[in-house]
């Protein structure tokens, strides 16, 4: 009986859930795209300038410790409400795992292999793209996957600053103390996490040398 009610609710809310899911995907993809754009090159750069690494990674760690709700609230005076501040906050969240894994991954590449490359007359660029990145790829991808799952989770909070997404349905459910509504937002969010993680895993396997 309860399950039936749940299905009827799902049917009634279907357009809403679809819109929420789509907004959620947009938030996640845009934030991850910008996050990767910043963190991947920065991580590689830091392996060449190791003195800076501690400081830069330290700063991103500090951002990570700010509670996500506070970070979203903090954005409002600068970016107002809606899509913009949500993207900025989510991007900041995505930075640390990608940056740290890129840095650690490349540093962890066996020095003997790098030396062999250099000995064969490879330029620094060739060593990076032909040896270091391919060998560090599983660790870099692990960072991206961590960031993805995290961003999908935190993106539910974006509904509090009027950015929509699946959090919208969840917060309506909380406001009305309706478990079914909360689930109608939470289940798609969990599914999104799993699907994104699976796709990234396939990509990882596909590009592995």
């Amino acid at each position: 009986m309860m399950f039936n009610n749940f299905l009827v609710m799902l049917q009634n809310r279907w357009p809403e859930i679809m819109i929420g899911t789509w907004e959620h995907i947009q938030l996640t993809l845009v934030a991850l795209f910008i996050g990767n754009l910043i963190a991947l090159p920065l991580g590689i750069l830091l392996t060449r300038k190791r003195k800076l690494a501690e400081a830069v990674i330290g700063i991103t760690s500090v951002f990570q410790t700010i509670p996500s709700l506070a970070l979203l609230g903090f954005m409002i005076p600068f970016f107002g409400i809606g899509f913009g501040p949500a993207i900025v906050a989510l991007t900041i969240y995505a930075l640390l795992p990608i940056l740290r894994n890129t840095y650690t991954g490349i540093l962890g590449v066996n020095q003997a292999v790098v030396d062999a490359g250099t000995g064969m007359g490879m330029t620094s660029r060739q060593v990076l793209f032909m040896i270091e990145i391919p060998l560090a790829l599983p660790i870099i991808m692990a960072g991206i996957r961590t960031a993805t799952v995290m961003v999908i989770g935190v993106a539910t909070l974006a509904a509090l600053v009027g950015a929509g997404g699946l959090g919208d349905i969840i917060f309506r459910g909380i406001a009305m103390a309706r478990q079914d509504l909360i689930l109608a937002g939470a289940i798609p969010a969990a599914l999104l996490s799993m699907i994104f993680d699976y796709i990234l895993k396939r990509i990882e396997i596909a590009v592995q040398p």
Partner: protein
């Protein structure tokens, strides 16, 4: 080491237990006034406390910011509270679970008063005067430019305006769903957001229309305009002190004293008091006492 920790823990525990019991203890010449968890209720608690202590010599224990309607209404039922300020619409719909059909404020007041008398042995005293209802609000400038005074005016132009509202308002059947159906509102995609953000979002033109409470201090401070609910979809929420019948019987003077407040607090005045606490950061107690003095009540 373990023993010392254990000893410390047991001392702490016994202290908190004795602390608790003294917290709930009531002596004969003390009444307890409670309040819900928002600013306006805090101010009302201290206004009632101030005037009772000044005029009757009865001691008042203030328990402000207790919780939602559920918490305070159960507390007064159980006798943990003697008095608190309730709103007619809340009492009717949330506490008694009655249906609201568009009707005048006096009718709603008489209805809840009668039911509370009979079922709960709780007496409704005279209303303070203001009506803290759900409403829709816009920037005054924009509302005037578009010639919008009422919900009906708004509905005609709603397709071109952006609505921002709390998730609760958007979801409640007696909230946006009802307004939308009765007035035929055409907002394309309402943005849900945290209750703390709606007023600022409207001020900063992130949205054009918000759900609001008609006595919120920010309406005044941000130069927003409250639109008139011309088809009365929202129940009236006139606030009045309510008191347990047994307490009133023991201290009839409390009823007389609290009725001195009747009609003294208009919407504008309540809004200004709320603004003093929410926006100027004054304490509710200070604001309440200042108001009582200014009105010559103490």
């Amino acid at each position: 080491m373990k023993k010392i920790t254990l000893l410390l823990l047991s001392i702490l525990l016994s202290m908190s237990i004795t602390g608790c019991s003294s917290f709930w203890e009531k002596d004969n010449n003390t009444v307890v006034i409670g309040g819900k968890n928002f600013t306006e209720q805090d101010i009302l608690v201290y206004i009632m406390k101030g005037i009772i202590e000044e005029k009757t010599g009865i001691k008042v224990k203030a328990k402000a910011y207790l919780g939602g309607t559920n918490v305070v209404s159960q507390a007064i039922d159980r006798g943990d509270l003697d008095i608190y300020a309730e709103y007619t619409g809340t009492a009717l719909v949330s506490v008694l679970g009655e249906e609201y059909s568009p009707s005048d404020p006096e009718v709603v007041y008489e209805k809840v008063k009668t039911i509370y008398d009979a079922k709960k042995q709780i007496v409704w005293l005279k209303p303070f005067g203001f009506n803290n209802t759900y409403t829709l609000s816009m920037r005054t400038e924009q509302a005037n430019a578009l010639g919008i005074e009422t919900f009906s005016d708004l509905a005609k132009q709603s397709a071109a305006l952006r609505l921002g509202a709390t998730h609760e308002f958007l979801e409640r059947i007696d909230g946006y769903q009802n307004v939308k159906a009765v007035y035929n509102m055409q907002f394309s995609s309402p943005a849900g957001m945290d209750p703390g953000l709606t007023y600022t979002a409207c001020r900063d033109s992130n949205v054009d229309v918000i759900d609001a409470f008609s006595t919120d201090g920010r309406i005044l401070a941000f130069n927003l305009k409250v639109l008139a609910d011309d088809k009365k979809v929202f129940p009236p929420f006139y606030a009045a002190p309510i008191i347990r019948a047994d307490t009133l019987k023991k201290h009839p003077e409390i009823g007389e004293v609290l009725n001195l407040l009747a009609g003294k607090l208009t919407n504008e005045e309540m809004m200004a008091l709320n603004a003093k606490v929410d926006l100027e950061g004054k304490s509710p107690q200070v604001v309440a006492n200042e108001w009582l003095k200014a009105k010559g009540l103490i």
